[in-house]
């Protein structure tokens, strides 16, 4: 009897002690996530940012829509057809906005902060971060106008409603970032050598050329605001920009990270090549045709007329939607087109002609992989502002630049789609639904036919 009583008491005492470990009542170490580090080195942050820039900023959510508007693509059914009629809601751009801010710009901000850590300053990373930040911010402001930046990325310190910077200020920020990037990239004192750089493999000279080229892009974008100053500054920046296609600022793709347009075509497939672009290529026997445009079921290269919902038109070709086709943050050919336009506007016809030809040659070489000087000699349209911008439009397929240039110059001229829900082709993206929901007080009220500051 006593034995049993003793046993019971011992058992009870054991359970009590199990439930109440003296001293360590509860182990707070237990709440440290065993699967996720609280800090990572910069070389692990860099590839994620670059992948997102390629996938989200260029590939998926922005380019697809504005290339439909530019009649490079045509939305033939479902949501893409909606977009082809210029219906783009705040909800539609939510992913773009979220990825831009939380993936690209936030992580770049962290990268730059880390690169400035006292005792292990790594200005080479700082410089790369600044170029990437300026690239992303530039494309973002061109699409959205005023955007948050100077007050942004402070969520962990409690700033949940950042104010918007006017686009003019954003442009100043872009130029400052790029100006600061150059000395950083050239700094002789650097703790951590750059690695994990998928874009340039740590080649700092190429990053410096990219900084100057992006600067040229955005000076030219100010042509309606600055007049000739825009052209001279663009030309000055271009001096130290890309020197050949080898310098192109590209995000590559691979089997496990496939090209965004390829993925879209595979999963939803509601776009075809637009007739406006395809007709331009066909009529001029352009060698880029079969690279941009896939033959349709009948073996023909046919674009879908705006509003026609022609599902049997050609799908995007390998240079746009190849599985591992790289996307273009900026190319040597674009820089040459910038030079061509700037020289042309400044009346420097000889330089303009040279740049124009170099631009088209670079484009053809990049897309077709072959030297096409014969075609240039016989088929290149004579140089006018329109032909420069039309050739730039053809070259810029799959980027945000045709839309930026068209708004700035009205070239090439495009017709409004039948069944349009707006009275003109939209001249900006709407602000994202999350902005309207969570920062309404700061979000400017806009419609998508409003114009951004440089477009006035």
């Amino acid at each position: 009897m006593n034995k049993i009583k003793g046993l019971a008491l011992a058992l009870f005492a054991m359970l009590i002690s199990l439930t109440s470990c003296e001293g360590e009542w509860i182990d707070s170490e237990l709440n440290i996530d065993p699967d996720a580090p609280s800090d990572v080195p910069m070389n692990l942050l860099l590839p994620g940012i670059q992948q997102s820039m390629g996938y989200n900023l260029m590939g998926n959510n922005s380019v697809r829509t504005n290339n439909i508007w530019m009649q490079i693509f045509d939305g033939v059914s479902r949501q893409s057809f909606t977009e082809a009629r210029y219906q783009l809601t705040p909800a539609d751009v939510n992913n773009l906005w979220i990825n831009t801010y939380t993936e690209m710009m936030m992580n770049t901000t962290i990268l730059v902060q880390k690169s400035r850590m006292e005792g292990s300053e790594s200005p080479h990373y700082t410089g790369i971060g600044q170029v990437m930040q300026a690239t992303t911010l530039g494309i973002t402001t061109d699409l959205f106008g005023d955007v948050p930046f100077s007050d942004a990325f402070e969520g962990s310190r409690g700033n949940l409603t950042p104010v918007y910077d006017e686009q003019q200020k954003v442009y100043d920020t872009i130029f400052t970032l790029l100006d600061n990037a150059v000395p950083n990239l050239n700094s002789s004192e650097n703790t951590f050598a750059v690695s994990g750089d998928v874009i340039y493999g740590g080649n700092l000279a190429k990053w410096e050329k990219a900084a100057n080229s992006i600067k040229a892009r955005h000076y030219l974008q100010l042509s309606n605001v600055l007049g000739n100053e825009a052209y001279t500054k663009a030309l000055a920046a271009a001096q130290d920009g890309f020197e050949s296609n080898a310098d192109d600022y590209l995000v590559p793709f691979e089997d496990s990270n496939r090209n965004p347009i390829f993925q879209f075509m595979e999963q939803r497939g509601d776009i075809r090549m637009g007739a406006t672009l395809v007709d331009l290529l066909v009529s001029n026997d352009d060698p880029r045709l079969e690279f941009y445009v896939e033959a349709n079921g009948d073996g023909e290269f046919v674009g879908s007329e705006i509003g026609s919902q022609n599902e049997s038109a050609s799908a995007p070709g390998p240079a746009i939607a190849g599985t591992d086709q790289a996307v273009k943050l900026m190319t040597y050919s674009e820089l040459k087109f910038i030079e061509a336009e700037a020289h042309f506007r400044l009346g420097q016809t000889t330089e303009a002609q040279a740049a124009y030809e170099a631009a088209v040659a670079a484009s053809l070489l990049r897309v077709t992989g072959e030297d096409q000087s014969d075609w240039i000699a016989s088929n290149l349209p004579g140089m006018t502002l329109e032909s420069i911008l039309t050739q730039k439009y053809i070259d810029g397929v799959g980027t945000n630049q045709p839309y930026a240039d068209w708004r700035r110059t009205g070239l090439p001229s495009l017709e409004l789609a039948p069944g349009a829900v707006t009275s003109s082709i939209p001249t900006r993206f709407p602000y994202a639904q999350n902005e309207l929901d969570y920062n309404r007080a700061n979000v400017p009220t806009v419609t998508i036919t409003d114009k951004v500051w440089w477009d006035q």
């Binding site: 019971a8 199990l18 439930t19 709440n31 949501q79 942004a152 929901d437 920062n439």
Partner: protein, 1070 residues
């Protein structure tokens, strides 16, 4: 007998035998019930003394008493009887059943049994019979319509699918809002691992809840603790109430074998109605009138062919004289069909013929045994089900053992173990995904397809043969796979192996003072695999998820029970501690870029590096708790409780939290001596409950992603964690009134409750330009107020005929009172297409669907634009909450001699859901409405007004110059507008009335069985969900708008049709 049995246990545990020794005679006898069966455990007390004994297992007792004494015989559930001791030494007693059973004993928090009348909160207990009479293989689904304040949502057509259970409304913004489920003291995990995309309707599989593993036939009783006061002792995890399940156990002095066999059949009930006038084709949305066939010249002959490249049904009108080449006429491998035109008619075997009649076979056997000192029960149960989608199967096998033995007068030990294997094969995909056959049936497909012909889904070389060819020459699937390819090649598998059990001991130090110590374990391994075969429309893929869950609880409690002042005052007190340790691991892999070798479903067979998600989680909570209950003269009751938890998930300064509760009742019928009033009680309770959160929300970490060109990718996740979190708090109070009249033939029980949950730990969405999508904060305050009512009426109660009516009603008003300052809404989920979202919005009930709305004029007419289609507001508006206004259940049961009949009607009013099938089914010309009233030939004039609309910046508008709309639009354009137009066109009220259960039973008369050794035989026929009416949209049962048991509700993205079930069962007791 179950209630009675649990009463015996209670008495055994609580009753203190006190025998006084005096010079008196020995009186003995047998106590039996109305049926002459012996009653063990009856209290036999000499009136006016504390002398008493209990009857033994054969109902015998023996007590010393004087000839002048009066013996009082009492037993819970029976009417108390008094017999004077005469000169005879034998007093045999028959106790009458107290049919009202208001002295019912219920199982409350921590497994403590209590007299129901002593409780200061609402409690509704169902016994096993009530749960199993319609033979639902999911015990939790059986609660539907039976308990006031319990809202159950389940898509009946989804084999073993998820069950959403909400008790008294939604109390948390982003945490589960699920009740705690406790089986014999074991907190049983009821997780749901459906993907986010399955839950939103974007597509996926429903693998159900892990609570499915409970075998309904093992349940003795289920008590639903809805409010804070009831559940406070369980602490934070019962924040949303608790369901306390007690399993059957052996009965002392009795050996019994129960055999149960049943079969049930399941057929389609509510399914979208499809037009039967036009076949597949792309149509032309710019013209009124029908389209024509395509033509193709093959081997010099020109044929009319169907437009198989499109997945819509705007094609030509059926015409038996039109000969066309159907989808199967292009494969020379099938010479009978090759280039062989057939008439253009609605198919003999349409979509509904694709579905099978589901069959479920259930077999169970239970052995129970009890001696003086020990009881045990062993049961084995197997259910094999085939769903309505061909080849879908679900097997559940469970083995349950429990036993208890008294090792000495003071020490008893008990143990229970349950093993369940739930094995699913080919559970159907649903929603807007390639493997979902619903997508091609009702969203994007062609109506003329004959499903018998589609069964030839493969060419001899193994490639797929689908109706949706890219072109005449190219048979590759364009958008859609052959449905038989899907169910044969792209199947899913899942298997969960689970055991849960407890072991414990009870030791009586004195007659008043005892201790219990228990250990509870719940562990499972859950593996899911899905596949897409090479040759499908989508890239081939293999996905495998392996999840392991373990929870261990150690619990020790000291009890003190004593009566004072001549038994006028009872005290039941206890104090104890609990340690809980929960571990969860998941290893999830998915091939990338396709499979290298077809038909090898292995992660290593991935073209690119497979995507791996490796997740580990550990959480501990230490608790101490105590409770003291006082009862005075069976009339006044008071209970106070307190509990303190320490959680590993909260920061060191804030990880300890205490919460008290108090509740009491006053049985006023004890003082009001009125004949008409059989029972009357008022009650009230107040409770606070604290709550912790999920692990790892205190500091920011980096996430890894698939490597990019060999470089590992880490990035800052888009959620900003918070090192300063504090516990959530819930404050609740409730009051109730119970009354019984006319010998309890009319009874009611009403409850009013008011609950506020605040400091809700919520990832609040923020402006992404802060660098984060969300920031974790103690944000949010939710209010739930409601009324619950239960009415029981027994209009007829005779020996041969009983009629009972039960009506329950629950109305809950939910409002989100605040989020973070400046933040007024939080997106819970994004439904597929058009940016329609589910939200928590300040000032609104939880779960508001937001999307664009119609434009209305001042009189509420819908405004139509110049194009003849409804206008759409430029901004999203609130289109209603998914929460219902009220729910009601109405049960009738009849017994005539050995026959019984019962039916349950269940209704819901209010709440909305959004249907994606309504969008695409109109867009593609599949739904019946797209061909009704000859609209394809005549066009459509939508009902509404035209007018001048001017929109203001804030989204408001004014409408002037209205006139009746007369614009005729082509039917296809009208159909497409369900996608292009406003979102409110696809939002419907979730009201329903359902004939939830019908049961008809016959118990063989005892005399027939005679000496066969068989104790009872019962046959029953049953039906579930037989009828549904009162729907807003007859194409959908509103309950199908669920893709999981979590907070994401109200999205029909391509749901399987709801079903009705009917079957037969026989139960034999030996």
């Amino acid at each position: 007998m179950k209630t009675r049995f649990s009463s015996i246990l209670t008495l055994l545990l609580a009753f203190v035998v006190q025998v006084t020794f005096a010079q008196q005679q020995t009186v003995s006898g047998t106590v039996t019930d109305d049926d002459g069966l012996p009653l063990p455990g009856v209290n036999v007390i000499v009136k006016g003394t504390s002398t008493g004994v209990q009857t033994d297992f054969d109902g015998n007792y023996s007590i010393e008493a004087a000839q002048t004494d009066v013996l009082v015989f009492s037993f819970i559930g029976m009417k108390t009887a008094e017999y004077p001791v005469s000169s005879t030494n034998i007093v045999d007693v028959v106790l009458e059943t107290d049919t009202a059973q208001l002295d019912e004993v219920v199982v409350t928090a921590l497994g403590i049994t209590r007299e129901k009348k002593s409780l200061g909160y609402a409690s509704q207990q169902l016994d096993g019979e009530e749960l199993t009479r319609s033979r639902n293989s999911n015990a939790l689904n059986s609660l539907s319509g039976q308990v006031a304040g319990v809202q159950i949502t389940n898509n009946s057509g989804q084999l073993g699918g998820s069950t959403r259970i909400v008790l008294r409304g939604v109390g948390s913004i982003t945490q589960g809002n699920k009740p705690l489920i406790v089986v014999d003291g074991i907190p049983l995990d009821n997780s749901n691992y459906n993907s986010n995309s399955a839950q939103t309707g974007s597509g996926g599989y429903d693998f159900g809840d892990t609570g499915f593993d409970i075998n309904p036939d093992d349940i003795a009783s289920m008590n639903v603790l809805k409010g804070g006061a009831a559940a406070a002792l369980y602490g934070n995890r019962a924040n949303n109430g608790a369901i306390i399940i007690t399993t059957k156990s052996g009965k002392k002095g009795k050996a019994e074998i129960t055999v149960n066999s049943g079969v049930s059949f399941e057929s389609i009930n509510i399914i979208p109605q499809v037009q039967k006038l036009y076949g597949g084709g792309g149509g032309d949305n710019s013209t009124i009138g029908q389209s024509t066939f395509d033509q193709a010249t093959i081997d010099g002959t020109t044929y009319n062919i169907v437009q198989y490249g499109v997945d819509e049904s705007w094609g030509p009108r059926y015409d038996p004289n039109a000969q066309v080449l159907h989808w199967d006429a292009f494969d020379p491998e099938f010479p009978d069909q090759y280039l062989n035109p057939r008439p253009w008619v609605y198919p003999e075997n349409d979509k509904e013929d694709f579905f099978d009649t589901g069959v479920s076979v259930n077999n169970g056997v239970a052995f129970s045994l009890g001696s003086e000192k020990s009881t045990m029960r062993l049961s084995l149960n197997n259910t094999q089900s085939k769903g309505i989608v061909p080849q879908s199967e679900l097997d559940k096998t469970s083995l349950n053992f429990n036993g208890k033995t008294e090792l000495s007068d003071r020490l008893s030990v008990d143990a229970g173990i349950n093993l369940t294997v739930t094995d699913g094969y080919n559970r159907p995909a649903f929603g807007y995904s390639g493997n979902s056959v619903i997508l091609q049936f009702f969203q994007f497909g062609q109506t003329q397809l004959d499903y018998e012909r589609l069964k030839d889904y493969k060419l001899p070389d193994g490639t797929q043969r689908t109706w949706n060819r890219i072109s005449v020459e190219n048979g590759t699937p364009r958008y859609t796979d052959n449905p038989y390819w899907i169910i044969n090649e792209n199947y899913a598998e899942d298997k969960r192996t689970r055991w849960f059990g407890n072991v414990g001991a009870k030791y009586d130090f004195t007659d008043n003072f005892y201790a219990t110590a228990k250990m509870y374990v719940d562990q499972y391994d859950f593996r899911v695999a899905t596949r897409i075969a090479e040759g499908s429309q989508s890239q081939s893929q293999y996905y495998e998820a392996d999840r392991d869950f373990t929870e261990i609880n150690y619990e020790a409690i000291l009890h003190y029970d004593k009566s004072f002042f001549d038994d006028k005052l009872d005290l039941n007190a206890f104090a104890g501690g609990n340690k809980r340790d929960t571990k969860f691991r998941a290893l999830i892999g998915q091939t990338q870029g396709g499979l290298v070798v077809p038909n090898i479903y292995n992660l290593n067979n991935s073209v690119a590096n497979p995507l791996i998600d490796d997740y580990d989680e550990n959480k501990q909570i230490e608790s101490v708790f105590g409770s003291a209950s006082f009862g005075y003269d069976d009339m006044l009751y008071l209970t106070v409780t307190g509990r303190n938890d320490w959680s590993s998930t909260l920061p060191e300064g804030n990880n300890s939290f205490f919460y008290p509760s108090i509740n009491g009742s006053f049985v006023f019928s004890q003082v009001l001596d009125a004949d008409w009033l059989s029972f009357g009680k008022v009650r009230g309770g107040y409770a606070e409950v604290g709550s912790d959160t999920d692990p790892y929300q205190l500091r920011n970490t980096y996430n890894s992603r698939v490597p990019f060109f060999g470089s590992i990718r880490y990035n800052q996740p888009d959620q900003n964690n918070n090192p300063n979190l504090k516990p959530e708090r819930k404050n609740t109070w409730e009051v109730g009134l119970e009354m019984g009249f006319l010998k309890n033939r009319l009874r009611f029980d009403v409850t009013y409750y008011d609950e506020i949950t605040e400091d809700l730990i919520t990832p609040v969405q923020v402006d992404p330009s802060t660098g984060y999508n969300s920031t974790v904060a103690n944000a949010g305050k939710l209010s739930n107020k409601g009324i619950e009512a239960l009415v029981n009426i027994s209009p007829i109660r005779t020996d041969d005929f009983d009629w009972n009516i039960t009506w329950n009603f629950a109305k809950n008003e939910n409002e989100l009172l605040e989020l973070l300052p400046g933040v007024n809404s939080l997106e819970l989920a994004r439904f597929p297409f058009n940016g329609v979202t589910l939200n928590a919005i300040v000032g609104q009930p939880y779960g508001v669907i937001r999307g664009t709305n119609y434009v209305f004029d001042d009189s509420g007419n819908r405004v139509v634009g110049d194009n003849g289609l409804y206008l759409e507001t430029p901004n999203v508006e609130n289109l209603g909450s998914v929460l219902p206004d009220y729910n009601m259940g109405f049960r009738n049961s009849f017994r005539y001699k050995n026959f019984d009949l019962g039916f349950l009607i269940d209704m819901q009013k209010g709440g909305v859901y959004r249907s994606l099938t309504n969008i695409w089914g109109h867009y593609s010309g599949i739904l019946e409405s797209t061909a009704a009233n000859n609209i394809r030939e005549d066009g459509v004039v939508v009902s509404g007004v035209t007018g001048d609309v001017s929109f203001n910046d804030d989204g408001t508008y004014t409408v002037t110059n209205t006139a009746e709309n007369t614009t005729v639009v082509p039917a296809q354009r009208w159909g497409q507008d369900f996608f292009f137009g406003n979102d409110n066109q696809n939002v419907f009220a979730a009201d329903y009335w359902k004939l939830r259960e019908v049961t008809f039973g016959y118990t063989l008369p005892q005399e027939w069985l005679g000496k066969t050794g068989v104790n009872s035989v019962r046959f029953s026929a049953f039906g579930r969900n037989l009828l549904v009416w009162g729907l807003d949209n007859d194409n959908f049962d509103p309950e199908v708008a669920t893709g999981g048991s979590g907070n994401i509700q109200g999205s029909e993205g391509g749901s399987l049709p709801s079903t009705r079930t009917y079957g037969l069962n026989v139960e034999i007791k030996l």
